[in-house]
C-alpha cells in the first residue's frame, strides 16, 4: 500500500523535472505541466508520509533514507509555498530534478517503507523534523541565491538571451530568498535548541559544530541585511555558500545514521 504512494510521487516529480526542462523551450505548456506535477507529487508524498507515520512502529524517518524522504518533502513544500509559479520556473528546473532523484534514492534505501521504524522520543522526532525543515528551507533559499548570481552575471554581461530564458526578476529573488532564509533560520534554531536539550556531556561533535557554523552564517547574513543593508551579489554569494555547508551537514548528521 505504502509503495503504491511512492510511485505517483516519483512519477509526478519526474514529470515536473522533465516539464521544467522542456519549459525552457515551450514555457507556457511546460510551466503548467510542471506546476501540476509538483502539486500532485507533493500531495502523493504527503499521503505517503501520513501512512508511514500512522503505520510505522516508532519514528519512520530516523534512518538516512527516511530522513532523505522527509527532507525532499520539506524542500518541495518550501518550493510550493514560495516559488511554484510561472515566474520562478527556472528555480523549479533547479529544484525538481534533485528532488526526484533524492526521492528515488530514498526509495532504493528503504526510506519510503514502514518496517524499519526507529524507537525515538517526541523530542528527537521534533528535533529531526525542525532540523530537516530548516535545512530544506535554506537549501531552497540558497538555490534562489544561486539563481540570483547567475542572473546578475547575465545582466552584467548584457546577455541578450535574458528575456528568452524568462528569468525571475532580480529583486524578487533577493527578497524571497531572504524571507525563506529567515523562516528557515527560525526552524533551524528550534531544531538546534531541541538537539542541545537532548545532549549529554561530551557528546558535542564536529557535525554539531558545522550545524552551528551554518546557523551563525545565515544569522549573520540576515542581521547584516537588516542592520547594514547587505544585499545583492555579496549576500547571494554568502547564502549560496550555505548550500555547500548544508551538503556537508546533512550527510554527517541526519543521513549518516
Amino acid at each position: 500500500m505504502v509503495e503504491l504512494l511512492v510511485w505517483p510521487a516519483l512519477v509526478a516529480y519526474g514529470e515536473a523535472a522533465l516539464a521544467y526542462a522542456g519549459g525552457l523551450r515551450t514555457p507556457r505548456l511546460g510551466g503548467n505541466l510542471a506546476i501540476w506535477g509538483v502539486r500532485v507529487g507533493w500531495l502523493a508524498q504527503t499521503a505517503l508520509l501520513v501512512v508511514q507515520g500512522l503505520r510505522a512502529d516508532g519514528f519512520p524517518w530516523g534512518s538516512w533514507a527516511g530522513a532523505l524522504n522527509l527532507f525532499v518533502w520539506f524542500v518541495v513544500g518550501v518550493y510550493l509555498v514560495w516559488g511554484c509559479n510561472a515566474r520562478f520556473r527556472l528555480l523549479g528546473a533547479l529544484v525538481m530534478p534533485p528532488a526526484a532523484a533524492l526521492l528515488a534514492v530514498s526509495w532504493l534505501g528503504g526510506g519510503t517503507g514502514v518496517e524499519d521504524g526507529v524507537q525515538a522520543g517526541a523530542l528527537l522526532a521534533a528535533h529531526v523534523g525542525l532540523m530537516l525543515a530548516g535545512l530544506a528551507g535554506l537549501a531552497v533559499a540558497a538555490g534562489m541565491s544561486a539563481l540570483y548570481l547567475w542572473e546578475d552575471r547575465s545582466l552584467t554581461r548584457r546577455d541578450s538571451r535574458l528575456f528568452r530564458l524568462r528569468m525571475p526578476p532580480l529583486e524578487a529573488l533577493d527578497r524571497i530568498a531572504a524571507r525563506v532564509a529567515g523562516v528557515s533560520l527560525g526552524l533551524l534554531s528550534g531544531g538546534i535548541v531541541l538537539g542541545l536539550a537532548r545532549l549529554r556531556s561530551g557528546e558535542f561533535d564536529a557535525a554539531m559544530a558545522v550545524t552551528i557554523v551554518l546557523w551563525a552564517l545565515v544569522a549573520t547574513i540576515l542581521a547584516l541585511r537588516l542592520e547594514a543593508g547587505l544585499r545583492g551579489r555579496r549576500a547571494a554569494t554568502l547564502l549560496t555558500v550555505a548550500l555547500a555547508l548544508i551538503a556537508v551537514v546533512l550527510p554527517i548528521t541526519h543521513f549518516a545514521s
Binding site: R158, F163, E171, A228
Partner: protein, 419 residues
C-alpha cells in the same frame, strides 16, 4: 451574407501613400456611419493600414462602395492609391482581420497596440450580425494568440527593451524612480515607457538646466544641472543617459562612492548616447548594470527572433478561429430552415394544447405550467438532434441540400415565405 474588405497597408504602400488615407478614430466613426446605408461598416485605420469592412445580405456593390470611399479619402491623388489597394471577401477577409488582430500582419510581429485599435474601430463602427461576429472573433483570436504563444511577450523597441530590463531587475516598477541625463527624444520615449509602468521620473539632469525645463514639466520631474547628478544618483533606481557630450558623463571614479553607498541596491544605467555617456567600468560595481544602445538593440533583435518563431504558432491559433468563423457563416444558410421548423413545431404544440383546454380546465395553475413545460421539452428534445445535424451539414457544405429536405418533409415552404 457577404463580407467585403478593401484596404491599403504597409505591404504594398509606402508611408507617403498610407498617410493620405489615414483617418482619426472620430473621422473613422463618421465614415463608418456614412457608409452604412443598408449595410454594416467598420473603418480600421492605423499607422500601417487603412481598411474598410462592409457586410450586407446581398453583394449590393459593396466592393465598389468601399473602393470609392477609400479613394475619396485620398482626394486628388487617388490614382496613385488605386493600384496598391487589396480586396478580400468572406472567409479571406475574416482570416485577414484575425491575422491583423493577432499582430501577424504588423511590421513587428505581435505588437501590442493593434488589438486596441481593432477594438476601437469595432466600437465606433456601424455593425450588425456579421461584423459583430467577425470583429468579436478577431478580438478573441488576438487575445488567444497573445495568451497561448509568446508572440507579444518580449520588448520590440529600444525604449521598450530599456523598460523591460528595468522590470527584469526591479520586478514591480511602481514606486521606483528614474533620472534622465540629457533631454533627447529617445530618452523622452524611454521615460514615457518607464512612466507607463509606474516609474516616477524624479529629475532631468542637463548641462543647461533651462533646456531640460520643458521636458521636466511634461514628465512632472525637476530639472537640475549635471553638477546635481551625483546627489540624485543615490535616490533613483534607473538612469537614462542621452547627452551629446563627447566623453563619459557618468564616470566610475566620480560615482563609485555613490554606487557603493547603495550597498548592493540595484542601479540600472541605460546609455542611449553615441558617443557613450556611461563609463562601462561602472558595470563592475555590485548591483550596477550598464546597457548601451548596442546592448539594447541586441535585446530587441533577440526578442524579434522569438516573436518570429512564435508567429508560426500564432498562425495556427488564427487558423482555428478562421475555421470556427467559416462554420458559423455556413450555418447561416440553414438558419431560416431551422427557424421555420421550430416555429412549425411550436405552432402544433400550441394548437394541441388549445384543443385539450377543455380537459385541462380541471388542472390547477401549477399543474398547467408543468404540462406547458413538459410539452415544450418534448418539442425541444425532438428538434435538438435535427438542428445540430443541420448545422454540421452546413459546415460541411451540404447545408442547403439538407435544409431543402427538411422543408420538403415538414412542408415548410409556405412558412418560410411568410416569415
Amino acid at each position: 451574407m457577404k463580407l467585403v474588405l478593401v484596404g491599403i497597408s504597409h505591404h504594398r504602400a509606402p508611408v507617403e501613400l498610407r498617410e493620405r488615407v489615414a483617418v482619426e478614430p472620430e473621422r473613422a466613426a463618421e465614415l463608418s456611419s456614412s457608409l452604412a446605408d443598408g449595410c454594416e461598416a467598420v473603418v480600421l485605420s492605423t499607422c500601417n493600414r487603412t481598411e474598410i469592412y462592409l457586410a450586407a445580405d446581398g453583394d449590393a456593390g459593396l466592393d465598389a462602395r468601399a473602393t470609392t470611399a477609400l479613394l475619396a479619402l485620398a482626394g486628388d491623388e487617388s490614382s496613385e492609391i488605386a493600384p496598391v489597394l487589396y480586396r478580400l471577401a468572406d472567409e479571406s477577409a475574416a482570416l485577414h482581420l484575425f491575422r491583423v488582430a493577432a499582430g501577424l500582419d504588423s511590421l513587428v510581429p505581435g505588437e501590442g497596440e493593434i488589438l486596441g485599435q481593432v477594438r476601437t474601430a469595432f466600437e465606433s463602427g456601424t455593425t450588425g450580425a456579421l461584423l459583430d461576429r467577425v470583429f468579436s472573433q478577431a478580438l478573441h483570436a488576438g487575445r488567444r494568440a497573445r495568451v497561448e504563444t509568446a508572440i507579444g511577450e518580449s520588448p520590440a523597441s529600444v525604449p521598450a527593451a530599456a523598460a523591460a530590463l528595468a522590470q527584469q531587475v526591479f520586478d514591480d516598477l511602481r514606486g521606483r524612480s528614474a533620472m534622465l541625463v540629457g533631454a533627447g527624444k529617445m530618452s523622452e520615449l524611454t521615460a514615457r515607457n518607464l512612466r507607463s509602468r509606474g516609474v516616477r521620473i524624479a529629475a532631468i539632469a542637463n548641462r543647461t538646466p533651462a533646456h531640460g525645463d520643458a521636458l521636466a514639466a511634461r514628465l512632472g520631474a525637476s530639472a537640475v544641472g549635471l553638477d546635481g547628478l551625483r546627489d540624485q544618483l543615490r535616490g533613483v533606481d534607473v538612469v537614462v543617459a542621452s547627452t551629446s557630450a563627447p566623453g563619459f558623463v557618468l564616470r566610475v571614479d566620480e560615482l563609485e562612492h555613490e554606487v557603493r553607498a547603495r550597498r548592493g541596491r540595484p542601479l540600472l544605467l541605460v546609455d542611449l548616447a553615441v558617443p557613450r555617456d556611461v563609463d562601462p567600468a561602472l558595470a563592475m560595481l555590485d548591483g550596477c548594470f550598464v546597457y548601451d544602445i548596442d546592448d539594447l538593440e541586441a535585446v530587441v533583435e533577440a526578442s524579434l527572433d522569438v516573436r518570429r518563431a512564435e508567429a508560426a504558432r500564432a498562425e495556427r491559433v488564427v487558423a482555428t478561429e478562421a475555421q470556427r468563423f467559416q462554420e458559423w457563416q455556413a450555418s447561416l444558410a440553414v438558419v431560416p430552415a431551422i427557424a421555420s421548423l421550430r416555429a412549425h413545431a411550436e405552432e402544433i404544440r400550441a394548437a394541441e394544447l388549445a384543443k385539450a383546454e377543455g380537459r385541462l380546465g380541471r388542472l390547477s395553475e401549477s399543474e398547467r405550467r408543468i404540462v406547458e413545460s413538459m410539452t415544450a421539452q418534448i418539442v425541444n428534445k425532438l428538434l435538438h438532434l435535427p438542428t445540430v445535424r443541420l448545422k454540421q451539414a452546413a459546415a460541411a457544405a451540404d447545408g442547403p441540400a439538407y435544409a431543402d429536405v427538411v422543408r420538403h418533409l415538414f412542408g415548410l415552404e409556405g412558412d418560410e415565405a411568410q416569415q
